[in-house]
Structure formats: structure tokens, C-alpha cells
Amino acid sequence: MTDPTVPSPAASPTGFWASKRRADKITRAIVTILLVLGSVVMMLPIVWMLSTSFKTRTDVFSIPPVWIPSPLHWENYPMAWNVSGMYSTEDWSFLGIPFHGVTFTTYTLNTLTIAVLSCLGTTLSSSLVAFAFARLRFPGRGPLFILCLATMMVPTQVTMIPTFILFKSIGWYDTFYPLIVPAFLGGGAYNIFLMRQFFMSIPYEMDEAAKIDGCSNFGVYWRILLPLCKPALTTVAVFSFVYNWTDYLNPLIYLDTNSKKTLALGLKNFVSLYGQDYHLLMAASLLVSIPIAVLFLIGQRYFIQGIATTGLK
């Protein structure tokens, strides 16, 4: 590690573009400019949402568009949070929560339950299944994998009703099970495929060495490959969490009781036949997205802790 042109793996994961020190300054300047410019473009929708969320109903469409409304209508946020309460009179007081009616607090707890458990299930089970596809020899592996991928290719619009009937017939209608259990059963073709690709980019010699040391197949999976695939696991975890946090269609179909509904369904309360309360919709959408932003901000650090820190050299 004496060569100054190669960054120390523990400190810096940069490979491409970051070698010569002389060029570093210029490179970094260019990178920063690109990042700032890109961020501005990418954030446009969100900035607009933010701006709208502070407006009154009638100011939403003023022309020319106003980016910084004055005054800022902070009250939209509590209003958005509580507005859904008007649809129900169900009582949460037994939990010590001092309000009646279903608000976004209820929806948040429900969504959290579903998203956390699904995230856990998906991460564990998709990596397990992917390990079998990537590392183990068994008859019918190729066809089975193609079959797995094929499940992504049938549009949900036509499998929805049969699936609904299936879950209903086993008594899972209006429960969280249809939203959580599938995550523990492989977590879907997308995640399996993703994990398989990552496993397959790890040298096979790692497994062989471990097996010589007496590791079982599960041992190879748990002790060797999983730690090496932290960035991939993080990716799957993030995607799965976000998917379940924002999923609209499945909760719409399987959840009926208002107190069991999720945030995505709650958001739709603002949308109605007679026009939309855009300012409230934006306020609620942003509130709902904050947890994702925070989780991502915490989680993104783990993207860069791959092979670099596990000492594979």
C-alpha cells in the first residue's frame, strides 16, 4: 500500500477517475459541478412539491408559477396529517394514543409493520434462494431460473383477481399476510435475480477454500458470501422497504378496514372525483417520503462497504 496512486481501500472506494493526485483537483471540481447541476435538475419535482405544500388551494396554479410562496402556510402539514381522520370513528385510545379516528399515525404504524417485516423477509429469503441458483448444482437449475424470471413478465392486472381469490380462500383477506408472507418466500424474482448476479461476481475460490475448511453450504452462504455482498443486501433492503412503503395496488386490494390501511392508500384520500387538494396532497406526500430519505441517508453508507473493507485481496 505504498503506492500513492492507489487509494487505501479502507479509506476510499474510488477506483475509476481517482488516481493521479495532480488531476484530483480538477476532477473533483468537475465532479462537484456535475453533482450540483444534476441535483438541481433531479430535485425539480421535489422542490416543486415542497413549494406547493406551503400554498393555499387557490395559489397552487398561479401564473407565472411562484416558487417561494409568501406567507408560508405551515398549517397545511398538520391539516394533511389529520384530514383522513374524518372517514372513520374507530378508537385507538386503548393504546394510549390520545386521539380518535384514523389519521396518518395509524397508517404510518401499519406501513411500518409491513415494510419492516417485508424488508427483513426479502433480504433473507432472496439471498438464500439466489445462493442456490448461483452456487449450487442441481437438476433443472436453468429452467427453474427462467421460470422464476418469467413470473415478472405476466402483468399483474390479469393475475390480480386470481391472486385475490387465492388469498381470500385461505382467510387472508383484510390482513397483512398477503403483503408480508410473499417476502419470506423468496422475495420476488427481481430480488432473487439481483442477488444471484452479485453472488456470481464473487470468485468461486472463496467457496472452495471455505469448504476445505469444513464449511457446509449454509456456512458458505452465511459466513462467506453474505458478508461480501453487503452492498447488494443493502440495495435489496432499500428497494424492498421503499417498494412496500409506497406500494398502492396490493394494499388497495387486500386491506379493507380503514384502521389497517397504509400510507399510500391514505394519500389517495386527497384525490377525489371533484378535484384535488394539491397543497395537502403535496404536504402529505412529502411527510410520507421523509422516512425514506432518512433511511436512505443512513443506509447509503453501506453501499461503499463491500469488498473494500472485508479485506478480499
Binding site: Y87, D91, L112, I165, K168, T257, K268, Y274, I298, Y302
Partner: protein, 430 residues
């Protein structure tokens, strides 16, 4: 890594109560009646207030309201019905009623009406008529909605120096006003349009010009859309407003393709006249500095006029296991109490005539000319009742007419293209 683990453990702990089924469920006892609805928060407030009252006065019966956003309503309902989980009472709209009725999903109500001596004559006959086929009634109406109102901005008329329109105005008056109401800045950019509709509502102009879609509303046998000369006139007129008179916002200028947001253009004064139904009232009442009123759509010099129609009501699904209780609920929620609450919001014209003619509805607030809707009822036209109405309207007629609006085809050319397509897809009533 420790942080992450802590976060995970915390999240799981938080989620446990919900998982263990500790939901704030109100334990249902006795018979449960489920009712499906969409609607704005105001509407739902009315319905859930009514249901609360009903639940209190009917021990042994629990009514549960399930609300789905309008755009997902049908999908959600169909999935439930297919899975044998259909609700007992459904809220239907004048057009999607047909889909349920024609497929035999709605319980005929005549036996219940006769047994209870339920008085249908308090409702607008035009509303009852929509939900009655061959003498059998399927839905009790909640509201009635002629879509034939031109909302106008008084300030814009004052600025243009023209008098406010009256209910007996003609197409010529309308176009003349529309042109005068146009406003441009120094660079030639339009800052105020003469007219726009709530959504690309060509039906309104077809009916207003005395045109038609099919030969019969209740039992259509063939489409007349492409052959009716009045239909052609209506379509050409709507196209001319954009491309010839240049008084109407063309599709390329719409904030939205489906027209969502044009109401907001009226609110902020970038459009002087706006075609819609009465449901816009609460929105426009809330707008600051907007002085507005309504007037009927213009008529032809021969006096012909006609309005497309909305409206909604409550029906009972045939699959319901508690039809008697469901009927009792329908009677209650479509009664006078609910109608008055609806009238107070300004959102809709109740289907009960006495309420619509009372000060509860004609409350003297904006729009001052609200009584015009009582008159407008006479000119209501309903869409043909067949299974493929929506498909023919949205997927055959509509894409072809897009070319007329953009000016790449005349109405006549479009009709020539449409006729063979319409012949190939005749109205399906079976």
C-alpha cells in the same frame, strides 16, 4: 453497523402491536352491512355522519363505509365481487350504473319499493328515469347533475366591456363574447383565454347541437354518431372554437391532457368562461377575488339545446346476503336528511325536488344564478345504455377526434373514418 441494528430493532418493536392484531377494530356484532363509495372529503363526511346516526339507532346492525378513490373504484369493486367479497350497497354514477345493471349485478328494487310504499315521486323524474329500465328501478338517486353550465368570470366581462351573458344566449353570442374576452400581452402571448371545458367534453357540444350517439338511449341498436348531421355540427363547433375563432384553449395549451387543472385556470383568471357542472361550486367559492356566476350553455338560433348528464345514487348488489337491511340503509341515506346536508355543501343538486327548490339549496350564495340548474334539468340527455359505450366513446371516437382538435382533420373527415369502425362495433346490450 450498531446504529443500523438499533434502528432495525426499534422499528420491529414499533411494528409489533399492529402485527399482533392489536388494531383499533371496532368489534362488529350482529349483521354487518358494507357500503362502497368514492367522493370528496366533504361528501364522505356527510355519508359517514349519516351512517353513524344509523348505527346508533339500529342496534344489531353495523354499517361499514369503504371508500376508494374514484379512479380505482371500479377496479377495487370488481376484484371484491369476483372474490365473493362484494359489498352490500354500492354508490354508482349515472354512467357506470349501466355496466352493473346490464350484467345483472344490481338487485331490482321494485319489490322493496312497493312493499314499503316508498315514494319515488319526490325525486326528479329525469333521475329516476336513468335508473329505471322496462319499468324496473335499480338505483335510488342521490343527486342529479346536468353538465351544461358555463361559469363566467365577471371581472373579465367588465374588462372587455361586454354585458354578462343571459340564459337565452346563442352560439353567435357565445363566440362573440369569447373572442372579446381574449387577452394578450405585448409579446402576443395569451394571458386570458375566452373559454375552456373542465375536461375534453365534446359530448356536451354534441348534445347541445341536438346531436346523438345512438338511435335509442335505453335500447340502442346502432350508432348514429358519425351520421347525425347535428353531431357533426357540434364537433366542428368545438374544433372551430380552438382553430378558427381561437377563443378556446387548444389541447397543446392545457395544463393537463385530460383537462385536469383547467378549473384552476378559471380560478386564477386565465380563462374567462368554463364549462362544467355544479360540483365546482365549493372550489370556486373558496377562490379569493373571484367574482363569478353561471349561465346555461348557449343554444342554437332554432332554440335547440341539450346537456350531457352526471349524477349518482345507491344500488344493492344481487350478491348481498342482507338485501332487506341494505334496502333499509339505502332508504335512509338517500332520504331528505342526507339531501339537505348535500345541498348545504353546495357540491351537488339533490335528487329530491323539494330540497332542490328550498332555500337550503338556493341559499343566495354564489352562484347567484344557481336556480338555472332547476331549468337545466329539462334539457338533460343521457348516454346510450350498452356494454361497450365507454369503449366506443373513449377508445374509438375519442382518439379520432384528437385529430380534429389538433386541426389535422376536419370533423367531416373524422366522421368518415369513424363510420366503418362504429359499424363494426355496434352497441352491445346483451
Amino acid at each position: 453497523m450498531k446504529n443500523l441494528r438499533l434502528v432495525m430493532v426499534g422499528l420491529i418493536c414499533l411494528s409489533l402491536p399492529s402485527l399482533l392484531g392489536l388494531n383499533g377494530c371496532s368489534k362488529s356484532s350482529g349483521t354487518q352491512i358494507r357500503i362502497s363509495s368514492w367522493g370528496s372529503p366533504e361528501e364522505n363526511q356527510i355519508l359517514s355522519n349519516l351512517i353513524d346516526k344509523y348505527n346508533q339507532s339500529h342496534p344489531g346492525i353495523t354499517v361499514v363505509l369503504e371508500r376508494t378513490a374514484f379512479e380505482d373504484y371500479v377496479q377495487h369493486l370488481l376484484t371484491q365481487i369476483a372474490g365473493g367479497e362484494g359489498p352490500d350497497v354500492i354508490f354508482v354514477e349515472a354512467n357506470n350504473f349501466v355496466n352493473f345493471y346490464l350484467r345483472g349485478a344490481l338487485e331490482p328494487l321494485n319489490p322493496y319499493i312497493q312493499a314499503d310504499h316508498f315514494d319515488l315521486s319526490v325525486y326528479y323524474p329525469q333521475a329516476i328515469d336513468r335508473y329505471t329500465v322496462d319499468g324496473q328501478t335499480y338505483v335510488v338517486p342521490r343527486d342529479i347533475a346536468p353538465i351544461g353550465l358555463i361559469f363566467y368570470n365577471k371581472k373579465a366581462f367588465d374588462e372587455a366591456g361586454i354585458p354578462y351573458p343571459t340564459d337565452d344566449w346563442t352560439y353567435e353570442d357565445f363566440v362573440a363574447d369569447g373572442k372579446k374576452l381574449m387577452k394578450k400581452d405585448d409579446k402576443g402571448n395569451v394571458t386570458r383565454w375566452g373559454f375552456v371545458d373542465d375536461w375534453p367534453n365534446f359530448d356536451a357540444w354534441v348534445y347541445d347541437f341536438g346531436g346523438s350517439f345512438a338511435d335509442d338511449v335505453k335500447h340502442p341498436t346502432k350508432w348514429t354518431f358519425a351520421t347525425d348531421p347535428n353531431t357533426l355540427k357540434g364537433i366542428q363547433f368545438r374544433a372551430d372554437m380552438m382553430n378558427k375563432y381561437k377563443m378556446m384553449l387548444p389541447p397543446s395549451g392545457l395544463a393537463a391532457m385530460g383537462g385536469m387543472g383547467t378549473g384552476d385556470m378559471f380560478t386564477n383568471g386565465t380563462v374567462a368562461m368554463f364549462l362544467s357542472g355544479l360540483w365546482k361550486t365549493p372550489t370556486f367559492r373558496m377562490a379569493k377575488d373571484l367574482q363569478w356566476d353561471v349561465v346555461m350553455m348557449p343554444k342554437g338560433s332554432d332554440g335547440i339545446r341539450g346537456f350531457s348528464s352526471g349524477g349518482s345514487g345507491y344500488g344493492i348488489l344481487k350478491s348481498s346476503a342482507h338485501k332487506k337491511e341494505a334496502w333499509d340503509l339505502v332508504k335512509y341515506i338517500s332520504g331528505e336528511e342526507g339531501a339537505k346536508m348535500l345541498a348545504e355543501t353546495g357540491l351537488a343538486q339533490p335528487a329530491i325536488m323539494s330540497v332542490s327548490n328550498s332555500p337550503v339549496f338556493l341559499d343566495g350564495q354564489d352562484p347567484k344564478n344557481k336556480k338555472v340548474v332547476l331549468e337545466a334539468i329539462k334539457y338533460m340527455k343521457y348516454n346510450p345504455m350498452c356494454k361497450n359505450w365507454l369503449e366506443v366513446h373513449d377508445s374509438i371516437i375519442n382518439p379520432e377526434l384528437d385529430k380534429v382538435w389538433s386541426g389535422s382533420e376536419t370533423a367531416e373527415e373524422a366522421m368518415a373514418h369513424l363510420q366503418p369502425l362504429l359499424e363494426k362495433n355496434p352497441p352491445q346490450t346483451q
